[in-house]
């Protein structure tokens, strides 16, 4: 059974109309893909002249073969339609109660950690892309963070992986920083696994951070949330012994990715590690999966997807000054496909200062 789309613990109730619509949208996000993906795979295999062709084709070759097929068009339409429906319905659910939700978001909970906002920060242009077609993006209005967070439970009905918290080495970390922490989903598990560590999160979005702060209260964890950029943090040199990033790097262009690596190297203590969890690079994927994942780029507003999947993280990390950097390929080729996912992230990069 899919989990209830209320893991954030909102202070408002779902009406029958809201609940049933979001239940339907949640099912629409998962079930048609489950039904149609195997048929798409079978169609591709039937269209190949020889099985060996799949080894030599490019994603463009496959696009020529498949893009005009009714099946593919329906699958793409259904995925985009259900994504748009999700945002529309979440807006309709939350906006009538915006005063109640705003009061809730603005509560200060000292026992849950600090919430340090920076109203003077300059947010880079790329951040206003409007990722995943969320109206207004992550920063559009005071409810954007809640919309994103509740949207996660709808889009990932089988549960979120908890980021890299269960994959980092077992050490006594004094201070941990989660870059691009969003609403705290990837940050909270660090406090569970390392209760004696001081845990921090940083993100440019005030609405997301306010959501994270309220979630910390509900989960009875103490996490310090800072508004800021991963490429230019307010922290001193050598401050953290563990810095992490979960599905952040595919949301930034190459220039920002490099800046983030350099900044992380500055704020890590000697011997400290950066652990990145993200999507598999194209070098580890088949051309077919690259073609299939194209949906994210064009239809789900993921403009830096291809940047990230063709990025040479090893070279970039060395140039940023890390003593060593390694990558681990853990998952099946298509993270967003309907194949069985590995627990945790499919691609891990570990860099040591």
């Amino acid at each position: 059974m899919e989990p209830r789309p209320n893991a954030t613990g909102l202070p408002i109730k779902w009406s029958q109309s809201d609940r049933s619509k979001l239940d339907f949208i949640q099912a629409m996000i998962s079930r048609p893909s489950m039904m149609l993906r195997p048929l798409t795979d079978a169609l591709y295999e039937r269209k190949l002249k020889t099985p060996e062709d799949s080894n030599t084709q490019t994603a463009n070759d496959i696009a020529s073969m498949m893009d005009q097929e009714t099946l593919v068009q329906f699958l793409r339409f259904l995925r985009r339609k259900s994504q748009d429906m999700k945002w529309v319905e979440l807006q309709e659910f939350m906006e009538p109660s915006s005063d109640v939700l705003s009061d809730w978001l603005n509560q200060e909970n000292k026992s849950s950690g600090d919430l340090i906002l920076d109203h003077n920060m300059i947010i880079p242009e790329y951040y206003f892309t409007g990722f995943h077609h969320q109206p207004g993006g992550f920063n559009g209005n005071q409810l954007s963070g809640l919309m994103y967070d509740v949207g996660l439970d709808i889009s990932f009905a089988s549960g979120l992986t908890g980021g890299v918290a269960n994959l980092v080495p077992d050490r006594n970390y004094k201070r941990i920083l989660d870059l691009g922490c969003g609403s705290g989903r990837s940050t909270e598990p660090f406090k569970t696994r390392f209760p004696d560590s001081d845990v921090f999160g940083i993100d440019p979005s005030e609405p997301l951070l306010k959501t994270a702060h309220q979630r910390a209260k509900q989960k009875s964890v103490e996490i310090n949330y800072y508004q800021g950029l991963a490429e230019s943090t307010p922290f001193p040199d050598d401050y953290f012994d563990l810095v992490t990033a979960t599905i952040l790097f595919h949301e930034v262009p190459d220039e920002a990715a490099f800046s983030i690596l350099k900044e992380t190297k500055r704020i890590l203590s000697p011997g400290g590690i950066l652990v990145i969890g993200d999507l598999l690079p194209y070098s580890a994927s088949t051309a077919y999966d690259r073609w299939y994942d194209e949906w994210q780029v064009v239809h789900n507003n993921e403009p830096f997807f291809a940047d990230a999947k063709t990025r040479d993280m090893i070279s970039m990390g060395k140039e940023a000054g890390f003593k060593s950097i390694e990558e681990e390929l853990r998952g099946k080729p298509s993270f967003f496909g309907d194949r069985k996912r590995v627990p945790g992230m499919p691609y891990i990069v570990t860099a040591t200062k």
Binding site: S20, A27, R31, A63, L71, F77
Partner: protein, 104 residues
């Protein structure tokens, strides 16, 4: 059609709400949207009917807003989920038929 050159950005990047067309005939996009919107409303009505039946079976009468405010138990949610999944499988049968022909 998206062209895959390394680092080349696909047309439509960064444009919020860039709904081009998914089918060869743009009228089909509109028709498909109407169909899915109808299916959503149909499910909402089915859910509402089920809740109404449950309340009437247990008490024999309805209070104002009782259906709107109803919060299903875990067991009831499981029943609704099963019914919803059957509904979706049913409405997509036609698509599966067509796509099996396409796959052949």
């Amino acid at each position: 059609m998206v062209k895959f050159e390394d680092k080349e950005r696909a047309e439509g990047w960064g444009v919020i709400g860039n709904w081009e067309k998914y089918f060869n005939d743009p009228a089909l996009d509109r028709l498909a949207e109407i169909t899915i919107d109808l299916a959503t409303e149909t499910w909402t009505a089915m859910d509402r009917q089920k809740i109404t039946e449950w309340i009437l079976e247990s008490k024999g009468y309805l209070q104002p807003n009782e259906v709107d405010d109803f919060q299903p138990t875990q067991e009831q949610e499981a029943l609704l989920t099963e019914q919803r999944n059957q509904f979706i499988s049913q409405i997509f049968q036609g698509l599966l038929r067509n796509t099996k022909e396409s796959a052949e």
